[in-house]
C-alpha cells in the first residue's frame, strides 16, 4: 500500500510540475486554443452548408480541429523538457517509466479537455448544433475522445522527442493511429445530433474506451523501452 502511495505521490509531483510550467510559460495552451479555433473557423467558412447537412459532417471537423490543436501540447510536453537538460535530469530521478508516462498522459489529457471546453461552445455557436442540451452524453464523449488521443499521443510524442525531426513526426505518426478515434468520435457526435443516445452511440463509446485502455496499457508497458538510449 505504501508503494502505491509513493508512486501516486511521484505521479502528482510530475503532473503538478508540468501544470506549473505551463501556467508560468503559457507556451502550449494559447497556441493550442488558437490553432483549434482557426481550424474550426476555416473549415466552417469553407463548408458553409445548410444546417441539416452541416450537422452530419461538422462533427468530424470538430474532432479534427481538436486533434490538430491537441498535437501542440503533446509535442510541447516532451520538447520543453529538452531545454537545459531537464529530460536527462528527469530520467536520473528514481521514477519508473510507467509513472512518468501516466504523468505525461494526465497533462496531455488535461490540455485536450481544456481545448474541448473552448471548441465545443464555439462549434455550437457556429453550427447551431444542440450538443449542449445533451451535456452529460457530450461530456462523456469528449472525455473518452481526449483520453484516447492523449493515451496514443503521449507514447508517440515520447518516440518523436528522441528523433531529429520531431516537430512534424508527432502529427504524421499519431494521425494514422488516431483515425479510428476520430471516426468513432465524429460518428458518435452525428448520433447525438440525431438524438440517438442508444445502441449505436453506446457502441462508439465502448470503442473509444477500448482504444484508451489498450493504448494506456501499451504505454505503461512500453514506456521504459522508449526512454532507453
Amino acid at each position: 500500500m505504501n508503494a502505491v502511495y509513493f508512486h501516486l505521490g511521484q505521479w502528482w509531483f510530475l503532473v503538478r510540475k508540468d501544470l506549473q510550467r505551463e501556467y508560468r510559460s503559457r507556451a502550449a495552451w494559447p497556441s493550442m486554443a488558437l490553432l483549434g479555433l482557426l481550424m474550426l473557423m476555416a473549415i466552417e467558412m469553407q463548408l458553409d452548408l445548410p444546417a441539416a447537412l452541416s450537422r452530419q459532417v461538422a462533427g468530424g471537423m470538430l474532432w479534427l480541429a481538436i486533434f490538430f490543436g491537441g498535437a501542440v501540447p503533446i509535442e510541447r510536453s516532451f520538447s520543453s523538457e529538452q531545454a537545459d537538460g531537464c529530460w536527462d535530469a528527469l530520467r536520473m530521478y528514481p521514477v519508473e517509466g510507467a509513472t512518468l508516462y501516466l504523468a505525461k498522459f494526465a497533462f496531455n489529457f488535461i490540455s485536450l479537455a481544456i481545448l474541448s471546453c473552448v471548441l465545443l461552445p464555439m462549434y455550437v455557436v457556429l453550427t447551431d448544433a444542440p450538443l449542449l442540451k445533451q451535456w452529460p452524453a457530450t461530456s462523456l464523449l469528449a472525455m473518452l475522445t481526449c483520453a484516447s488521443l492523449a493515451a496514443a499521443g503521449t507514447l508517440v510524442g515520447a518516440i518523436a522527442n528522441s528523433l531529429r525531426s520531431r516537430g512534424n513526426l508527432v502529427v504524421l505518426l499519431l494521425l494514422p493511429l488516431a483515425l479510428p478515434v476520430l471516426l468513432g468520435a465524429s460518428d458518435a457526435t452525428a448520433s447525438l445530433l440525431r438524438g440517438d443516445t442508444g445502441d449505436m452511440f453506446g457502441r462508439w463509446l465502448q470503442l473509444l474506451a477500448a482504444f484508451s485502455l489498450i493504448n494506456l496499457t501499451a504505454g505503461v508497458l512500453l514506456f521504459d523501452f522508449v526512454l532507453e538510449r
Binding site: A152, L155, V156, I159, S162, L163, R164, S165, L169, L172, L173, L175, P176, L177, L179, P180, L183, G184, D187, M200, R203, W204, L207, A210, F211, I214, N215, A218, L222, F225, V226, E228, R229
Partner: protein, 231 residues
C-alpha cells in the same frame, strides 16, 4: 569464417524457379480454369489475388509486432531484420490490396474509391505502414531504429482490431463470403495458399538479405579499423 556465414546455400536459385513455376500455375488456374462470374465477368478474377494480398497485408503488421516484441524482450538485434522484412512485405501486400480493390471497385461499383468500411480500414493500415517506414528513415542509429520501430509496430498491431471494429460498424457494401462455384472456391484456396507461401518466401529472403547487409557493414568497419591500426 564470417564470409562462410554469408553463403546462403546453393538451393536459392531452385527456390526461385519453384516459386516462379508455382505462380505461373496459379496464374493458369485463375485465367483458364476458374469460370467467369455471371454478373461481373472477367474482372471478378482480380478477387483471387485480392483476398490473398489483403490477408497477408494485415498479417505483415502482426508479424512485425511479434518480431518487435521478441527484440524488446530478448534484446537480440536479429529480430529487427525479421520485423523490417515483415513490414516491407506487408506494406507491399497492403499497396496491392488497395490497387486490386480499386480496380475491382471501378467495375463493380463504378468508382475507383469510396469510403466503404473495408477500403477505409485498408487505407488506415497502409498509413500505419507508411508511418513505420517514415520513422525508420528518421533514425540513423541501428539500435535506436530497431527499438523505436518495434514499439510502433506493437502499437500499430494492437490498433488493428480497433480499426476493424470502427470501420465495420459503418454500413458497408463490401462482399463478405459470397456464394461461390466449387471450382472458383478451389482456385481461391489454391491462390491463397500459393501466394501466402510466396510472400513467406519473400519475407525469408528479405530477412536474410538484411542480415547479410548488417554483417557486411560490421566486417567493413572491422577491416577499416584494422587497416587504421596497421597504418
Amino acid at each position: 569464417m564470417e564470409l562462410q556465414k554469408l553463403k546462403c546455400g546453393r538451393l536459392e536459385p531452385l527456390g526461385g524457379i519453384l516459386f516462379a513455376a508455382l505462380l505461373a500455375g496459379v496464374g493458369f488456374l485463375i485465367l483458364r480454369v476458374a469460370p467467369a462470374e455471371k454478373t461481373m465477368g472477367e474482372v471478378q478474377r482480380i478477387v483471387y489475388v485480392h483476398v490473398a494480398v489483403a490477408t497477408f497485408g494485415m498479417f505483415g503488421m502482426l508479424l512485425a509486432a511479434a518480431a518487435g516484441l521478441a527484440l524488446l524482450v530478448r534484446r537480440d538485434q536479429g529480430w529487427d531484420h525479421w520485423g523490417r522484412a515483415a513490414a516491407e512485405v506487408g506494406w507491399l501486400c497492403s499497396t496491392l490490396t488497395l490497387i486490386t480493390g480499386s480496380l475491382w471497385a471501378h467495375e463493380a461499383w463504378n468508382t475507383w474509391w469510396t469510403w466503404e468500411p473495408r477500403l477505409t480500414s485498408s487505407l488506415i493500415l497502409w498509413t500505419i505502414y507508411a508511418g513505420y517506414f517514415l520513422l525508420r528513415s528518421s533514425i540513423d542509429n541501428d539500435r535506436q531504429q530497431a527499438r523505436v520501430c518495434a514499439i510502433l509496430a506493437i502499437v500499430g498491431a494492437l490498433d488493428i482490431p480497433i480499426i476493424t471494429m470502427a470501420t465495420r460498424w459503418f454500413r458497408g457494401m463490401h462482399p463478405v463470403s459470397p456464394e461461390m462455384d466449387p471450382t472458383m472456391r478451389g482456385v481461391l484456396l489454391a491462390s491463397m495458399v500459393s501466394l501466402t507461401c510466396f510472400f513467406a518466401y519473400l519475407l525469408v529472403r528479405r530477412s536474410v538479405q538484411l542480415q547479410m547487409g548488417h554483417r557486411i557493414r560490421a566486417l567493413r568497419q572491422r577491416l577499416l579499423f584494422e587497416q587504421g591500426v596497421r597504418m
